[in-house]
Amino acid sequence: MHINEKKGAESARLEHCPQCGAVETKNNVYFCKGKKIRIYIECAKCGQFVSRYTLSGYTSDKPYESILERMRTVRLNSGKRTLEMVEGFGDDVRGEYEHVLELIRTQEDNLKIEEIIEDDLDGRTD
């Protein structure tokens, strides 16, 4: 079943440690030339492995620098589209961040992260 059919088009959830249930985590970022960047999430309380994410895009607190990195891969042919992306990028990221915090605060999903991801991606995980 697709997430949209189940409970609307969006969902947000804090990641919990499977061992102790803590929400405090550490991001261990792995770089290897020629490979996708991987982030290994570790529980900050008990040190348990929580999950691994494969990075497809990255945005720092300096959105312009982040979009420069993204532009190195995306091949654009339209100045109009590029300008829309560049100008809107920072606001889009900030706006979405605020929205996600609000979702967590008001209607946090009660499913586990992996259940949400599996529903959303129809079982495609990395």
């Binding site: 339209s78 109009k80 590029t82 100008e87």
Partner: protein
């Protein structure tokens, strides 16, 4: 379930699409004197494509597929006005895997490998260490490097790469330092100009080569570079002079922040550079061995994906949209030729009275005006099928002028993706970009037209 996709931006999309289709339908029903039914239908498709490529209600490549759908339904069906039968409609699909599309595809594969293994940043660091600190020399060095990179990888990727180096540097300048604008404008302008240098540097180049092929003219890789590189060198120098004059530095030294020593390349990166160099050599010597560049360029595709140096993720990132834009434009060109529309359009103007030089200036000016507001690929797609059909001027001259000026016009932030990226940095105003860009565009129109006029 409510129809929620028809909200916001999509309403505008549907509205513009409807207007474009209605305008196309209206044009196709006008009984133009001397234009066949197939020609009128193609004129309608051309009108619709022009509206969609100008207003961009959706990505440009979507228009390419609408063109093909309409071509096949209106022109290519059995018993249709072109008299095609059976699989005759395939003439509209062939351009999507034409030699220039394959050439661009191979170029994208090499650029992807260069980016993935950090070869571009490695080379950039190596080169930056050799530069001085005098502002004029730094600006020229940055522009030359930008132009060089954009001959081989996309203008957008090059601008992003170079801006990432430039932004931290200009941020250290005093607040009223005018030279920051020279650097911020120099990068996109050099990327636009550098793209002129090779057939894979910018889509209009490949589109021009494709249309020339359709008209029976061959433009080799080396042939293009022989014309393109000198033009790039001159325009870069002119651009540097203009920017340096407009934004004279108050500071005496500019220190580029690069790591002390670029790390050495690993074996995979060296192998990729070897493949890259082999392909370039084979491109430049195609007249000797007879292997077309479009086939040579499949070598990196086979080798890099075959040896798993690139994977499915890289395949997805290969800029398919640009390939479809090029294919769509060339497919439109096929319809315009087959239906006689190109010939009819050209016959409506007495070009002989304008003279060859006048015609080339006219093409250059029209290309510059169009590409100031719309994508340079769309400009090339719309103009090239018309201009290569004019008998009083060599098709090679017409195609080169349109393709090169399409890359050299850079007045507004929306004119090219590199301009948009530089403007997004917040370091330059539109009027500043327009002032410098207008001068460079005007110089390019005159210079390119004269060079092509005297060469051919």
């Amino acid at each position: 379930m409510s129809l929620t996709i028809l909200t916001g931006k999509n309403r505008r999309t549907v509205l513009i699409l409807a207007i474009a289709l209605l305008a196309g339908a209206a044009v196709s029903r006008i009984p133009f004197d001397g234009l066949s039914e197939a020609g009128r239908l193609t004129f309608g498709i051309f009108t619709m494509a022009a509206i969609l490529w100008v207003l961009e209600p959706f990505p440009l490549y979507v228009t390419s597929f609408i063109i093909v759908i309409l071509e096949v339904i209106l022109l290519g069906r059995s018993g249709g006005p072109l008299g095609l039968t059976g699989s005759g409609y395939m003439i509209f699909l062939h351009p999507f895997f034409s030699s220039v599309v394959v050439l661009l595809l191979g170029g994208f594969v090499m650029a992807q490998a260069v980016k993935r293994y950090g070869i571009d940043t490695w080379l950039l660091r190596k080169l930056l260490h050799r530069g001085g600190t005098r502002p004029g020399a730094v600006l020229l060095g940055v522009m030359v490097m930008t132009a060089f990179f954009s001959m081989w990888i996309s203008n957008t990727a090059t601008t992003a790469l170079m801006m990432a180096v430039a932004i931290p540097v200009v941020n250290t300048f005093p607040g009223n330092e005018p030279f920051r604008k020279a650097i911020i404008l120099g990068i996109p302008f050099a990327a636009n100009i550098g793209g002129i240098g090779t057939p894979i540097g910018s889509p209009p180049n490949a589109i021009a080569i494709g249309f020339l092929e359709q008209s029976g003219y061959e433009m080799t890789f080396l042939g293009w570079m022989t014309i393109g590189i000198p033009i790039v060198i001159v325009l870069i120098l002119v651009c540097w002079l203009i920017l340096y004059s407009l934004y004279r530095p108050k500071i005496e030294h500019v220190e580029l922040e690069v790591p002390e020593e670029a790390e050495s390349l690993d074996n995979r990166s060296k192998f990729i550079i070897g493949v890259f160099l082999l392909v370039v050599v084979l491109w430049l010597t195609s007249a000797l061995h007879g292997i077309p560049p479009a086939i040579t360029v499949l070598i990196p595709f086979v080798v890099l994906f075959g040896l798993r140096l690139l994977d499915d993720d890289d395949l997805r990132e290969l800029g398919w949209g640009i390939l479809f834009i090029v294919g769509g434009g060339m497919s439109l060109g096929v319809a315009m030729n087959e239906s006689g529309l190109s010939e009819w359009l050209v016959s409506q103007v007495d070009f002989a009275a304008i003279g060859t030089l006048g015609i080339l200036f006219l093409f250059a000016a029209v290309a510059a005006i169009m590409t100031t507001f719309i994508s340079n690929s769309a400009t090339a797609n719309l103009l090239l099928p018309i201009v290569v059909g004019i008998a009083v001027v060599s098709p090679v001259s017409s195609a080169l002028v349109v393709a090169i000026v399409s890359s050299a016009a850079m007045i507004l932030p929306v004119s090219t993706p590199p301009n948009a990226i530089a403007y997004g940095s917040g370091h330059v105003y539109v009027r500043e970009m327009a002032k410098a860009g207008s001068i460079i565009t005007a110089v390019s129109i005159v210079f390119v037209t004269l060079v092509i006029y005297f060469l051919f």
